[in-house]
């Protein structure tokens, strides 16, 4: 009896394996038949292959122009010639030869670009199809030098770390607030996070539109956002709903991920020269982000965290802006910025839910708390403040 049981189990497992393999084998046979017999040849009507080329990065330096292009054709694509400003230019391609679907290659042109002026690059493929890339403002692409990295870190600190630190410095003042004041601050946090959620989602979708089709931008953004949202909810709820310092940490994380995406986008714009990062713009970003610090402080007003906790929260929320600036200006493509922003949006959604739940628990009034004057005022103030200060940075 004891011997037959495992044997039966083994037999059952083998049978299962056969049933598992059968559909796979059937599919393999179908693929082999389609490839060999070519039953779809009737659809072949002599139309040229579909071609698509995405410009992912543009580097301008002393040796001229360098462009990273990604092919998205139905067949490997061949770059035959390259025009700059309506004139053909010699170029080299690295790696050379046809570019397979989804693969990228660098095009190097010894083009004497002009500082501060616009140039239009047109790639002509062997079928005569053309793909245009506009360089809105030609500026030297930042190099990974110590000076450059320091400068970008400075910008990242000003737009990411300083405002969060300033917001957290309101902590002693905020400690004295009563229950209504607390409700106002928490809903203020929800309001500003709501703004960030919309802003990050919209920006992620916009960047996703610029990315090569193979990345399926909009779907990728939605999936990455939902994925990060569910993952953070699961982590946060593994031992009950987060409150106090844990909740503050999640808020800081959500804001940090958003700042990473923001930093990538600013860095990329900086590299492309399309956003002259003026002092005004940088200060605008800083002001825009001050409320983030207040939001992080709200759940820990009744605790007594150490100074290191504040430093840690500041770095978690603001630090990623520095990393984003570096990556964005030195080595990123639209799809990676979109992905970072989408992950950030998912994190923000998680924080909105958790802060809302915390607010309900605090008030002991359940859902009705959202209709009380302090909460409504907080939501409106948070969103409105973000909207108004965003006007400073949207040029």
């Amino acid at each position: 009896m004891n011997e037959t049981l495992p044997r039966a189990a083994i037999r059952a497992a083998k049978t299962n394996l056969v049933w598992l393999a059968l559909p796979l084998i059937a599919f393999a046979i179908a693929v082999a038949w389609i490839l060999s017999a070519d039953p779809l040849s009737g659809f072949r009507n002599g139309a040229p292959p579909i071609e698509n080329l995405t410009f992912e990065r543009t580097v301008l330096d002393d040796s001229g122009l360098r462009l990273l292009v990604r092919a998205g054709g139905s067949e490997p694509m061949t770059v035959a010639q390259v025009q700059v400003d309506d004139a053909y230019w010699q170029f080299t391609q690295d790696p050379s030869g046809p570019i397979a679907r989804g693969r990228a290659a660098w095009l190097n042109l010894p083009f004497p670009w002009m500082l501060g002026e616009a140039h239009a690059v047109k790639v002509v493929t062997n079928t005569g199809a053309t793909f245009v890339h506009d360089i809105a403002v030609a500026v030297p692409t930042p190099q990974a030098t110590t000076g450059q990295l320091r400068l970008q870190a400075l910008v990242g600190i000003i737009v990411g770390i300083v405002p969060v630190a300033v917001g957290l410095m309101f902590y002693p003042v905020l400690r004295g607030v009563g229950r209504d004041g607390m409700a106002f601050l928490l809903s203020l946090t929800i309001g500003l996070l709501g703004f960030l959620l919309v802003d990050a989602s919209a920006e992620a979708l916009e960047l996703a539109g610029e990315a090569a089709a193979i990345f399926q931008g909009p779907v990728m953004v939605v999936l990455a956002g939902l994925g990060s949202f569910l993952l953070l909810i699961a982590i946060g709820r593994r031992s009950g709903a987060p409150a106090g310092l844990a909740l503050s940490t999640y808020i800081a994380l959500g804001i940090g991920l958003h700042n990473l995406g923001e930093g990538l986008a600013i860095g990329a714009a900086f590299a492309a020269g399309s956003a002259g990062l003026g002092t005004f713009l940088v200060l605008g970003f800083a002001l825009h982000n001050v409320t983030e610090g207040i939001g992080i402080a709200a759940p820990i007003l009744k605790k007594r965290p150490s100074i290191w906790t504040f430093i840690g929260l500041t770095l978690l929320a603001g630090g990623p802006a520095v990393i984003g600036m570096w990556l964005g200006s030195l080595a990123t493509s639209a799809q990676w910025s979109a992905l970072a922003l989408a992950v950030g949006a998912g994190a923000i959604l998680q924080v909105i839910i958790e802060v809302g739940a915390y607010l309900m628990r605090q008030s002991e009034r359940g859902r009705d708390v959202f209709l009380t004057p302090p909460v409504l005022a907080g939501l409106a103030t948070g969103a409105a403040f973000m909207f108004v200060t965003a006007a400073l940075v949207n040029i």
Partner: protein, 328 residues
């Protein structure tokens, strides 16, 4: 006219060697920024150039060879003693390489773009046997003077695929003309490659007032042999069909003469038959570096109509004939 003449410039470089023999040139697919060993440094365009080389053997025609390739047809004598000149022309679809690496689904006369440069003498009877092996209806519409029923427009000499038509008319007036397909839509039929030069030489016997000039323009005479004659068809291609040209050329291949300059014999006058069939643009220019030239509008005169440094022929309708390059 100066007895000594020479030319130089963008596309033309002086040399003591004869004709359009293959000139060896570095610089095809040159690494970025590299300077090539051009015989004339001044004409260098540096890195502003297409990359690579066109396979003329696969195309079946070569832009340099086409400069001096005249189609004179077959000659016979009519019962009344006049000369009958017969040309065989066929339309066929063909994919050609118009710039290094770029294939264009062309419509051609006799498999080449531009079509053969037809050449006849004033007063001859011309017979053009046109067969259409292509996928669309085509015609040959000759500029010049002929009967309306020989005009090659819809209703007069349009040829369906698989059919044939014989155009017949007298060669007149002398000059530098062109022919093209006049099927509709006209713009598409022209820019797909259906055009060519059509040159009628003056008959010296009918031009006693300028008999020497007329003889110099009549192909086959000793006087004509004292000239270097080049036929240039300025054309362009819209490869992405957006009604703007991606490639401009003389005799189809973009930058061909930048990479392989036209070689001419020093001290021997040059005559260029220039035709402009560029679609989409209102005007295009022709100029020679460091040279002036005599210009014969339409080539229908034996005395220059202009002395110019550069000229701006209007596409399609305008074609200008004879340029005499003199040493400036």
């Amino acid at each position: 006219m100066g007895g000594l003449a020479a030319a130089g410039g963008t596309a033309i470089c002086t040399s003591a060697t004869l004709g359009q023999e293959q000139a060896s040139h570095a610089g095809h697919a040159a690494p970025a920024g590299a300077t090539t060993q051009d015989p004339m440094p001044a004409m260098g365009h540096g890195a502003m150039m297409t990359v690579g080389d066109v396979d003329s053997a696969a195309n079946g025609f070569d832009p340099t060879d086409m400069l001096t390739d005249w189609e004179t047809g077959t000659v016979s004598t009519l019962p009344d003693g006049r000369t009958l000149r017969t040309f065989e022309m066929r339309a066929e679809d063909r994919e050609i390489e118009i710039a290094p690496g770029i294939k264009f689904p062309a419509w051609t006369y006799n498999g080449r773009v531009p079509g053969p440069a037809l050449r006849a003498k004033e007063g001859e009877r011309l017979r053009i046997v046109f067969r259409n092996y292509a996928s669309h209806p085509h015609s040959i519409h000759f500029h010049g003077i002929h009967a309306a029923r020989m005009d090659g427009v819809p209703g007069a000499g349009m040829v369906d695929p698989g059919d044939e038509f014989i155009y017949e008319f007298d060669a007149k007036p002398f000059g530098c003309h062109l022919y093209h397909c006049h099927a509709m839509p006209l713009r598409r039929h022209i820019h797909k490659g259906m055009y060519g030069a059509f040159v009628i030489d003056p008959d010296p016997e009918r031009r006693p007032e300028h008999v020497d000039v007329a003889r110099s323009r009549l192909l086959g005479t000793p006087e004509n042999a004292g000239w270097q004659e080049l036929v240039m068809v300025m054309n362009a291609f819209d490869t992405n069909f957006d009604a703007e040209n991606e490639f401009y050329a003389v005799n189809t291949v973009a930058h061909a003469f930048m990479k392989r300059p036209i070689r001419i014999v020093k001290g021997k006058p040059v005559r260029i038959y220039l035709v402009n069939v560029i679609e989409f643009d209102p005007i295009n220019s022709f100029h020679l570096h460091a040279n002036f030239f005599d210009y014969y509008d339409q080539g229908t005169t034996l005395t220059p109509t202009l002395n110019r440094r550069s000229h701006h022929p209007v596409p399609g309708t305008a074609r200008h004939s004879r340029i005499h390059l003199r040493r400036a």
